[in-house]
Amino acid sequence: MAPAVEFEGLTVDRGARRVLQGISGSFAAGRVTGLFGPSGSGKSTLIRAIAGVQMRVQGRLEVLGSQAGSAGVRRQLGYMTQAPALYEDLTVTENVDYFATVRGGQRGEVLERLQLTEQASQLVRDLSGGQRARVSLAAALVATPRLLLLDEPTVGLDPLLRRELWQLFRQLAAEGCTLLVSSHVLDEARHCDEVILLREGRILAQLTPAALAARTGTEDLDDAFVRLVEGE
């Protein structure tokens, strides 16, 4: 299967700092790819570059067969920013419906899937942090995107909900969606088909969670990360 996203010599500068240092890679369609690395490693910048909203991107970056940020790609993209990007003074339904119609689709069952039906008519400003995160995710899931870019969607959520979200991501991939999910909790790598480990703007490794464990000789992913860094 053709890769959903392909990049080569990808460099991003922010101010005087080079955040991504000429990285190359790709990830396959219809799978869950995890993007892991410590805070400041360039995860959000890579996601923003793929979403087409990052300035000063150099190198080749192809998304769903077109240039990142082109109109054709934007029709098929769902993007969740790290901080919940929502209208505080609208209800949950109004937020989700607006993002759905702007993307030319419909709300569908997304509130049910994210267990937000009880909050449907509440204003976002009255919600808890975890609920906001779910609404923000809902706004990315509507209108059946082909590519979902999720920047730390599970951060700060309770463990049960986190597990349910990962199940949802797996299910979406089974339905044909391509997911790129970032996290700094390496433990979540086991839910992914493949993981990309990012550190200081460089790709440390791209492999399956099992291969990562085999290569580093440990089941503990944090240990594995440390060993990869030390083995550089």
Partner: protein, 245 residues
């Protein structure tokens, strides 16, 4: 589809206002209170009330729409909703038109209410057609959307963006001919006032207040305000970048 995305954006902005009824009420009531105050100050000098009350009808939509636009767009920029929207098919002009349309509706309602109060209760007199008072207010509202959008690009916080109001809007009011007819100003100030859009809106209100019918000068004033509004909107659109640092 283009029209559709503009309309849903307009609807979304109006929904946000609907969840904030206090703001809407203030937008409608405060101008009426100010006109009433003016009427009471000039209780025995109705001629002066007429001369000052009419130009204020051009100022209110600029005040209201500038403030709501600059703060709304600052929030779009800082909350991440703008970044999210920029990853969707929504065009920058569609977003902008959605805002302009929503605040145009707001300004029309405001102009309707304030005109009804000042003309009906306070006794302000217009010789020209009152419908054009509302049209002129609508043009000024578009100008307010453009200027507010521009201001939002140069501010990082709501504190900062509100400070652009005395900077961008109040000098226009002082030089608009409200305090002193523009032709009596020092030449340099007159020249500056010629370059400010609110001057033409205030001139337009003067025409409406003094002349029956629709003069060529009035049409020219409205056209100039619209041209300034278009310019401000285009400049503002340029500050809405799809890609950011």
């Amino acid at each position: 589809m283009t029209g559709h995305r503009t309309l849903v954006t307009c609807r979304r902005v109006l929904l946000q206002l609907r969840h904030d009824p206090r703001t809407v009420v203030l937008m409608l009531v405060v101008p009426c209170v100010l006109e009433t105050l003016l009427r009471l100050i000039y209780a025995n000098r109705l001629v002066i009330f007429n001369q000052a009350g009419a130009p204020l009808l051009a100022f209110f939509p600029l005040m209201t729409v500038f403030l709501v636009t600059s703060i709304s767009l600052l929030r779009e920029r800082t909350s991440g909703t703008l970044e999210r929207l920029m990853t969707t098919p929504l065009g920058r002009l569609e977003l902008l038109n959605g805002y302009a349309l929503a605040f145009g509706v707001l300004a029309t309602v405001q102009a309707g209410v304030v005109s009804a109060v000042t003309l009906g209760l306070l006794g302000l007199r217009f010789r020209g057609p009152v419908a054009l008072v509302v049209v002129l207010a609508l043009c000024v509202a578009l100008l307010g959307t453009g200027l507010g959008l521009l201001a939002s690009a140069f501010a990082r916080t709501e504190f900062q963006v509100v400070q652009f109001f005395p900077l961008i809007v109040l000098p226009q009011l002082l030089l608009s001919g409200l305090l002193l007819p523009r032709q009596h100003m020092p030449a340099a100030l007159h020249a500056i006032s010629d370059a400010l859009p609110l001057s033409y809106a205030v001139d337009g209100m003067h025409h409406l207040s003094h002349q029956a019918g629709v003069s060529a000068a009035l049409v020219a004033d409205i056209a100039i305000v619209l041209a300034f509004a278009a310019g401000a909107l285009v400049l503002g659109a340029a500050t809405l970048r799809r890609q950011t640092e």
